[in-house]
Symmetry: C2
Subunit: 318 residues, 2 copies
């Protein structure tokens, strides 16, 4: 029997804890803890790939460059796709180092490697008409208008806190480096499509051009799970189970959702956009694509139990 | 007959041209030109991996962070190993995108992918006793002493231009992600050990810890060429051939050097440290390891001719 194949989508809490300083050293300490849980999954005999988020990290890279570019012409700000590529190097390095160490300490010597990964989005994706994902720092209205004029950025007012640049969040259409993921799959744990992948559009001649956009990492993980025909899409987040009426008196944890139920709950507004909603969406998409397979949404801490069927919220077609 | 295996070490001029602005956009334009030459090598049927430099890029990442960290506590400076990882993401992304495009336009659909790559150095390497590689910005003597006290950095006076942080440049001992390079080798062009690799030391328990150091990228490429038993180590730089008495009246271009000749020329001080010296050293090391094989030092523009035996400086054991 061949090993069960899992694509793991790692939430932000796997990389940074609330209240810790925004340093690389603090991130590495959190990643080392995360790696212990991931190593336990590997030790159960699962084959896996890892997709991680990059929101706070790429935000800091953008902010760092915005600050430095105003002061020194030798440090111009870089386009957003390049910032994403840098965050893949940064986060991937930490995960591959920490996970290798955690595996080695368990006498499980499986190599772990990060692939710099581009993900194609459709230039006609409606998201490009309605950029919604805020990145970088807050500006006054006046500054925001000047930046919009100067650089062509879309700036939006953010809940009374000031103005920020917004970028579109289009759907992932194709993982460019998929063949390398497949080639490495059964010998190596691959970290890929970090931050949802570096967003690129395909030109008429087939060439690729980076764009300023954020691909949801859960949807990128779902695309990967589809493409490699994974058995399980495992979405790890801060909560052990998906919840209806979250933080209300009649809050209810779910052990299982069918795809039709998930769609209903989404329509009823149970899940917050940018938080649980994309996770349930990705899970439902995977379960619908492969009716015999399942997606699981749970926490890092309950991941092994969830794979054993004892924890988490399982999403299946029926 | 199996394909000839080449490890290519790309010099700084393959990524940035003198006089162009230090932007990511300018880099991508240069990388696109570089990719045309690399695609031509692939079209000749060679199998290849690419190791690139990262000096100016990682220097700007460090400088950007130094500036921003003084102004905003949300953007602390990151350790130097992390800056290297970020530069691998940044540069690797550009090369893999541009080279894929250049190959596609030649109807040669070979995937190109960047591996985030750690390279082990020996904590007892004598380089750690004599840090010599300057990174980041210039400081006054007073600032330098304060930084040395605060952060434990080694600061040195740099040829009358001010004080700079210096880091050691130890020898590459092991490419951590080698198995993935090997696994991908015959189907994929792999970009690996960018900037010489992220330098790490091996702890007593086998775990790895990043260190502030710069591994020479030509020596890292040589290590890779040894490890994968490449047929040719191709070191690309700004000049078409290695030169004795460089820029002097009796300047002499070399078509060929034996290892003993190369050693003699190095001892006679013909090659500048940090420039041609590490290239000749890497070439001689490879040729000595595999007496039947060769290293070539030439320019990007003459690379194909050099592989045909018509250009460049060839280094062989005898």
């Amino acid at each position: 029997m061949s090993a069960t194949k899992i694509v793991i989508a790692l939430g932000g809490n796997a990389l940074q804890e609330a209240g810790t300083p925004p340093t690389a050293e603090a991130q590495l300490a959190v990643v080392k803890k995360t790696a212990e849980f991931l190593a336990e999954i590997s030790c159960k005999g699962y084959e896996m790939a890892i997709v991680h988020g990059n929101g706070p990290q790429v935000g800091r890279i953008v902010l760092t460059q915005e600050i430095a570019s105003k002061i020194n012409e030798q440090t111009p700000a870089m386009p957003f796709d390049v910032c994403g590529a840098m965050s893949q190097g940064y986060i991937g390095y930490h995960i591959q180092q920490a996970l290798s160490d955690a595996l080695r300490s368990r006498n499980r010597n499986i190599p772990v490697v990060t692939l710099v990964t581009q993900v194609v989005v459709d230039a006609k994706d409606p998201a490009f008409q309605n950029p919604s994902k805020p990145i970088g720092q807050f500006y006054t209205e006046e500054e925001a208008k000047r930046i919009a004029d100067e650089k062509g950025y879309i700036m939006k007012e953010d809940a009374g806190r000031g103005w920020r640049r917004v970028v579109p969040s289009p759907q992932p259409k194709k993982i460019v480096e998929l063949s390398a993921v497949k080639r490495l799959w059964n010998t190596t744990i691959v970290i890929t499509a970090g931050g949802g992948g570096i967003p690129v559009v395909e030109n008429m001649d087939g060439s690729l051009t980076g764009v300023a956009a954020v691909i949801d990492k859960d949807l990128a993980a779902e695309k990967l799970a589809q493409d490699i025909e994974a058995d399980i899409l495992l979405i790890l987040t801060e909560v052990d189970k998906v919840c209806l009426n979250f933080k209300k008196p009649d809050q209810k944890f779910l052990d299982h959702m069918t795809v039709p139920e998930a769609i209903q709950y989404m329509e009823d507004g149970h899940f917050a956009p940018g938080s649980m909603l994309p996770k349930v969406l990705a899970a439902a998409k995977f379960a619908r694509t492969y009716p015999g397979k399942k997606a699981i949404i749970t926490s890092l801490f309950k991941a092994v139990d969830a794979l054993d069927g004892k924890e988490g919220t399982v999403v299946t077609m029926a």
